[in-house]
């Protein structure tokens, strides 16, 4: 009987599903209407110069007694002319620390050479949302950060106007210098910083923000602000945290989720060299928090790891997961062969279209995959003086703060979280399970304790991208246009009611699968292996299915794929019009433009030798319109050589061109790596892959050149951490078909004998 496990698991999974919804849910109207109290000037810091903070959400009262607790702000102009910008969100490799700095510096007209960007501490009262997920850091921060820069500049100008007794409108600020042309007066920002701090705080709504033609910094190439530290090996990451008197921990959980500790050889383990203590934690029973297990405390990481090898736990697996990927694959086929369940979408008359049109059917599937950030999960926690102090590499430390406070049983003010640089996110660190484990362990250890997972722990206890199965049937009309689309999605459920997190239909795809007749239905199979968000959740798999099947349809219609695709994305289906002011901003013009440019860049339609093929696919996901093309060869042993990838993205204006290119290159190659060779299997609830030797992440020799192009439309900028991922697998499948005539309907391709 797994009732208790199922209930706890369902609660945990619902929590993650909620996180995914929240991180994706951009405010419909950006926070441009913040009132006067939106700014907070911090003049309490002696000699600091001008320190300008924000507090959000707008309208929420900022109690005066909270002020002394505000240690970080957004921007500080110091008397030595240094501008310090505090980046509120975590740097996970998406380049946000550099981008946030640039956005503020642009409006402030600061000299980038004198700008220092520091990581803000977690303080939702000051910064509002501080997570990184759903490619929303840029769209969420855009107005807020620009206003912070413009506000600081307005105060510097006001101070100069007063000192020089000239109209503020005649003073300009550029490269951290204020100047008044008519009188020839000038001063550096630093010279004016103390006086500026005494100026009234402007109403954010009154600030005039720059137009794009006025940008001096944005859109050019900048190297990451932390790069000098990265390349010299300075401590930056969670794993690098060191404290005087620190001890080291590993936490051992049941390989099958839901297992409990029946007994363990704790006395033997405690006698091992370097081991300080070993104890059982019951945990909260939720995968999102703390599962039952054994904590080993040692005087070094290695001693903890060695003790882990010697630890023998007798697990009570009666309530644990018994799931198997092989069984799920067989069961999904059975379900697909059966009747279609009650549709969740039923537009037009699919059956009538099937009766009169040319019908194509196909069955697609994709595997479970793991995140495997290169920095394994870790957190340092110190329980002292009624405070829980934490150093964590998390994508959502702000959310972790509330969770830790609730578990430890202290007010949130008694939890201090320091955000470290994060050695890879990809959605894994939207969860704070490792932070919660560290806090639970720290409660029982009278010292700062660093919890360090082994790579094998990262494999055994991830929140996987769920695998899935899609049974598709479509009809083409007499002109070879997409007339009907029917999709039966066979996915998983934890509670029997709702799809597992990351395993529901994408909210984006309905707006890009534009046919007059559409029917979608979902079947669910039980699952007690944790799932979650993996870089471009849902779209990274479902776009592969959509674009691949659409390519099958274009082929059946004997039509060019680019023409077919342009036709589909420009179709007006009244029931499928994008809701105004909603989260989804799909725009057929932006879609058409990226598709056309990708076709142009890749030389679409050019004649290629046998065994070589060009593929192209499109996706709208996470605010970004992206088309990708891929040129590859396939030899007679199914070995693939990728000659080149083209990424064409419209994410609005580019903040840092170098960072944007990094995301386009990294995102598309990550997607190539995953589509080629990555797969997680489980049997009796146990993950079968343990380390990188059984999980072939792509290596440098297989990494093709990537040419990134950006259509810098006039829309507000959106993120690029995820949008370059979804189109790649579809383009890859098209290219293989073009090269070989073989249709691939499952990823990873290694399951079909392909290698790279």
């Amino acid at each position: 009987m797994q009732a208790e496990t199922i209930a706890k698991f369902a609660e945990s999974d619902a929590y993650l599903a909620q996180i995914i919804r929240e991180v994706e849910a951009l405010p419909a109207a950006p926070a441009a209407t913040m009132g006067r109290r939106g700014f907070l000037k911090l003049s309490t810091v002696g000699g600091a110069g001008l320190v300008l903070a924000f507090h959000l959400p707008a309208g929420k009262a900022f109690a005066a007694e909270d002020t002394p607790k505000v240690i970080n702000a957004f921007v500080r102009v110091a008397p030595d002319n240094t501008v310090t910008i505090y980046s509120k969100g975590p740097e996970i490799g998406q380049g946000i620390k550099t981008a946030f700095g640039l956005i503020i510096a642009e409006e402030l007209d600061a000299d980038w050479k004198h700008v220092v960007v520091e990581q803000a501490r977690v303080n939702p009262k000051v910064y509002g949302y501080q997570g990184a997920g759903g490619s929303t850091s840029i769209p969420r921060g855009w107005d807020q950060l620009r206003q912070a820069g413009a506000g600081a500049k307005a105060m510097l100008i006001a101070a100069a106007a007063k000192q020089w007794n000239v109209p503020a409108g005649e003073i300009t600020g550029q490269d951290s210098m204020l100047s008044h042309k008519p009188s020839g007066k000038s001063a550096s920002y630093g010279d004016m910083a103390m006086a500026a701090a005494k100026m009234p705080v402007p109403d954010p709504a009154s600030l005039k923000l720059k137009t794009r033609s006025e940008y001096r910094l944005l859109g050019k190439r900048y190297t990451g602000v932390d790069n000098p530290k990265v390349v010299t090996g300075q401590p930056l990451f969670g794993i690098d945290v060191q404290m005087p008197g620190m001890v080291y921990a590993n936490y051992v959980k049941c390989p099958s989720t839901g297992g409990k500790v029946a007994s363990a050889n704790l006395d033997e383990v405690k006698k091992l060299p370097g081991v300080i203590d070993a104890f059982v934690l019951e945990g909260t029973g939720k995968p999102s928090e703390v599962m039952p297990g054994v904590a080993i405390i040692a005087n070094s990481t290695w001693a903890a790891f060695k003790a882990k090898d010697a630890l023998k736990v007798n697990w009570d697996g009666s309530e644990a997961s018994k799931d198997s990927t092989v069984a799920a694959e067989a069961k999904a086929k059975e379900i697909a062969a059966g009747p279609l369940p009650k549709p969740s979408t039923d537009i037009g008359n699919v059956d009538a279209a099937f009766a009169k049109g040319k019908v194509v059917e196909a069955y697609y599937q994709y595997a479970f995959v793991s995140h495997q950030t290169l920095e394994p999960m870790n957190t340092t926690a110190h329980w002292h003086d009624g405070m829980m102090e934490i150093w964590a590499p998390s994508q959502q430390a702000d959310r972790g703060l509330a969770m830790v406070a609730a578990m430890v049983g202290v007010p949130q003010d008694n939890v201090v979280i320091h955000q470290t640089r994060v050695g890879g996110g990809f959605g894994r660190r939207l969860m704070n399970d490792y932070m919660m484990e560290a806090a639970a362990i720290a409660m029982k250890v009278n010292a700062p304790v660093k919890l360090q997972w082994k790579r094998e722990d990262d494999f055994a206890h991830d929140f996987l991208r769920p695998g899935g199965f899609h049974s598709l049937k479509a009809a083409l009309d007499k002109d070879g246009r997409l007339d009907a689309w029917q999709e039966h999605f066979i996915t998983f459920t934890a509670d029997g009611k709702r799809e597992v997190s990351g395993g529901n239909f994408s909210g984006n795809l309905p707006y890009t699968t534009l046919a007059p007749n559409v029917r979608r239905a979902t079947s669910m199979m039980p699952l007690l292996v944790p799932t979650g968000a993996w870089r471009g959740p849902r779209d990274n798999t479902q776009v592969f299915v959509q674009q691949s099947f659409m390519h099958e349809l274009a082929t059946a219609a004997n039509r060019d794929y680019v023409a077919f695709l342009l036709d589909v994305v420009n179709r007006d289906v009244p029931e499928l019009r994008v809701p105004a002011n909603g989260r989804i901003k799909f725009d057929p013009k932006r879609a058409s433009d990226v598709i056309k440019l990708a076709a142009e860049k890749s030389g679409w339609g050019r004649k290629l030798p046998k065994g070589r093929g060009l593929g192209l696919a499109f996706s709208y996901a996470y605010g970004g319109h992206v088309a990708e093309a891929i040129d590859l060869s396939v030899d007679d042993k199914k070995k693939i050589t990728v000659h080149k990838i083209w990424v064409v993205a419209d994410v609005g204006p580019i903040i840092n061109l170098s960072g944007a290119e990094n995301q386009a290159q990294g995102g598309s190659i990550d997607a190539l790596s995953t589509a080629m060779g990555l797969q997680i299997g489980f049997d009796n609830g146990r993950i079968q892959q343990a380390n990188f030797n059984s999980y072939p992440v792509l290596r440098i020799r297989s990494a093709p050149p990537v040419e990134a192009s950006f259509i810098q439309s006039e829309f507000s900028p959106t993120g690029l951490g995820e949008p370059a991922v979804p189109p790649l697998a579809g383009a890859l499948a098209h290219a293989i078909f073009a090269a070989t005539g073989e249709r691939v309907r499952q990823i990873p391709l290694k399951t079909l004998g392909y290698s790279i």
Partner: protein
């Protein structure tokens, strides 16, 4: 036990298990945390350091086997306050995304350049295949190595 690390004589306490991988001695005992733990089985290259100038996986090197050989870590790669050309190229080409693998990448590339000062793409692929980058910065790693070696076109300067 004495270790020569970055041209300094370091003393490793007697109670450190001689089987401890060099990686953890560097990180936990000598507080040189630039060398990273990635996999513990020599499959990712994040822990790469030099022993007498040759790249080794410090997670697969018991500290007792180091002996008198000189250990160089990422913290000791710059000489006399000047960055190694690879470190400078890594900054100029804006290679890092999350940055976690980069110490291992740079150390491995530095050892390669000693053997092959003017590497081809094929040389780079051969030498760097053991270094995994989960963010897939590979195209820029390749460019930055060329930039440092003065071969091929090198990368676009990120400024």
């Amino acid at each position: 036990m004495h270790l020569s690390v970055n041209d300094r004589d370091e003393i490793v306490a007697d109670d450190v298990d001689p089987g401890t991988p060099l990686l953890w001695v560097l990180r936990d005992h000598l507080h040189l945390v630039g060398t990273k733990y990635g996999c513990g089985i020599g499959a990712c290259g994040a822990c790469t350091v030099h022993l007498d100038g040759k790249a080794v996986r410090s997670c697969q090197t018991p500290v007792s086997t180091v002996g008198a050989r000189k250990v160089t870590t990422i913290e000791g790669l710059a000489q006399d306050g000047t960055l190694h050309p690879l470190q400078q190229a890594w900054i100029d080409a804006d290679v890092p995304q999350c940055g976690y693998c980069q110490a291992g990448q740079i150390m491995n590339a530095a050892a390669m350049l000693k053997e092959k000062p003017k590497p081809t793409d094929a040389d780079i692929h051969m030498a760097m295949t053991g270094n995994l980058c989960r963010c897939a910065c590979y195209t820029r790693i390749r460019s930055a190595i060329h930039m440092a070696a003065g071969t091929a076109e090198g990368a676009t300067h990120a400024g």
